[in-house]
């Protein structure tokens, strides 16, 4: 996969919910989106703009009602349920606002989880998980359970977990939303580092224009439509 290849190719995506037959609710009204390998894209929008719905669709947690979606040369629209699981496992690394680490399971085991679902042998999993912990500077506390970690530490573990199967796309949903500005900064710095040093493709979904400003390209979502696209600073504020 050469740099610059298209990773996300979505056309005219419509998402409707049916709450009882006549009351259909259209959240996304035909969204087209194309993301190239190695890009750092921000999708900004106020709450209710359809951000979460879009993220669910980009993350293959949900299928669009209409439209086409090709993710890393895989046609998502035609994939079965278990194929979608595999796409999520291998192609996408999720980072959630609420971290979503599995409780009662050590940080290291959390990082191993996507590799376990990918049926990677145990010794290989452990080795890779340790390396990832080093990458996010969490090797000191990697054997702690999530409730023994601070918010920033949890999010770093979550980033390591998202990186586990070396996905084509990191999908971050308000990753700093639950953090104070200092730890939020730290998390954003990790994204910049992954983007610059490893050439990771990152899609950041946020409501904060300042955060979006740090990215390469900013797409503004409002009422289920993209209303603007512009270039960002592509680095952390000095």
């Amino acid at each position: 996969m050469a740099k610059g290849d298209i990773i996300i190719e979505a056309h005219d995506i419509v998402k409707r919910y049916y709450i009882g037959k006549p009351n259909e609710l259209e959240i996304l009204h035909g969204i087209s989106l194309s993301v190239r390998e190695g890009e750092f894209v921000a999708i900004v929008g106020a709450s209710g703009s359809g951000k979460s719905t879009l993220m669910n669709i980009i993350g293959v947690l949900d299928k669009p009602t209409e439209g086409s979606y090709i993710l890393d040369n895989i046609n998502v629209m035609e994939s079965r349920d278990d194929e979608l699981s595999e796409i999520r496992n291998k192609k996408i690394g999720f980072i959630f606002q609420t971290y979503n680490l599995i409780a009662r399971t050590s940080a290291l085991k959390n990082v191993e989880l996507p590799m376990m679902y990918a049926r990677m042998p145990g010794w290989k999993r452990k080795k890779r998980a340790r390396e990832l912990m080093q990458l996010v500077e969490m090797e000191d506390r990697m054997n702690h359970a999530p409730d023994e970690l601070s918010g920033g530490q949890k999010q770093r573990v979550a980033i390591a977990r998202a990186m586990a199967n070396d996905p084509a796309l990191l999908l971050a949903d308000e990753p700093t939303g639950a953090l104070d500005s200092k730890t939020g900064r730290m998390v954003m710095d990790i994204f910049h580092k992954l983007h610059k040093e490893q050439g990771k493709t990152i899609v950041l979904i946020t409501h904060s224009p300042e955060l979006a400003e740090e990215c390469e390209r900013i797409l503004t979502l409002s009422d289920g439509m993209f209303i603007g696209e512009r270039k960002g600073r592509n680095h952390a504020p000095s």
């Binding site: 669910n56 993350g59 947690l61 949900d62 349920d81 278990d82 699981s85 595999e86 999520r88 496992n89 291998k90 999720f94 959630f96 979503n100 680490l101 599995i102 409780a103 009662r104 399971t105 989880l113 996507p114 376990m116 679902y117 990918a118 049926r119 042998p121 145990g122 977990r161 199967n165």
Partner: protein, 429 residues
Amino acid sequence: MLLLENIILALNGIRANKMRSLLTMLGIIIGIASVIAIMTVGTSMTASMTDTMNSYGANDITMGVSQKSTETEMMGGMRFEWGPRKSNLGDNDYIYMDMLSVLKEEYPDKIDHFLLECSAGQGQAKDGSLYANVELKGVNDEKFEDDKLEMLSGRSFKESDQKDGRKVAIVSDYFCNNMFNGDTASAPGKEISILVNGKYHYYTIIGVYEYDASANWVSTSEEETTTTVYLPLKTAFDFNHDDQRFEQVTVVTGSGVTSVDDFMMEIGSFMNRRFYRNNDSYEISCSSMSSFMAEMTESMNTMSMAISFIAGISLLVGGIGVMNIMLVSIQERTKEIGTRKALGATNTSIRIQFIVEAMVLCFMGGIIGVVIGTVLGSILSKQMGYDASAPLGAIVFAVAFSMVIGVFFGFYPANKAAKMNPVDALRYE
């Protein structure tokens, strides 16, 4: 790999929710424990009864003279019942020594020996004011040996005692207590007089055996207890009538017999064909411990099964409890399930995770239940006076069955978890 991870995960979950897990397992524990306790008591009872019966000779066949069964004949619509024509045994009805010789010749490999005894009546040994109640019994050497008596002093019968019908006797220690002040050591050699049916009979004591009071059902004081005075078989015959005949004989089967029951039928029909063909009233009927034992074991098993079935209902209730808790647990962990799905868990792996969790829960309940049941059953068996023995088959079955319950009642909740929509599950708070 995935299975091991799931087991570890389930154990972590159980450890984190100790109290709830224990309460969940309680139904399984009680169910399994009661089944195992009942089975333990059952097998202990059967085992010790089998033991007892084996010591009485499971391979022995008792061959006795019995009245011919009443026949019903239809005659012009009327029913006539033909009973035995004589009620007392006549000279031609007994089993004679010669018959036994013929039988032994017919089956040289299958019959090892006969246990022969002949009662010579009850009486009282007397010496001045001293007395002891006795029962006189003539036995052959094999029979005497079969009674497995502990000899306290003296000797048992010699060949010449049997052959010549010598007037020698082996008495019990109770007898010595009454007659010689408990001096068993000097009893051999002493002469005793026994009053039977108004006549005195004189014997020389040659040995003293230890009386097994536990074999006596009737509780009498030690002084009044009637104990057996053993005589040589021929001596007892001479006492009665000279004729060497029996109402009942025990046949000890030899190595040539594969099925005691089959051989029992064989000698029964042989004897009847050969010696009782023309006898209107009596015939030979045989019985063996093994057939009786098989019947008893079977009825015992039926009883255990019936009680276990009832206990099994509590297992069912326990299983429903497990299902209930699993449903609650899945509700609680909706977000975790969503996260796992986002990380690439397939529906199958989620399903396996929760089924394994239910199985581990039930397996642990099963193990605890087996331990409690075995202990409880052993205590009960001991209380009832049996040696406790664990029903291994039932234990393996119980543990396996508890895991089946885990799969069965874990399936519905696990399936529910597997089918959760990842978007909704992730959003669940």
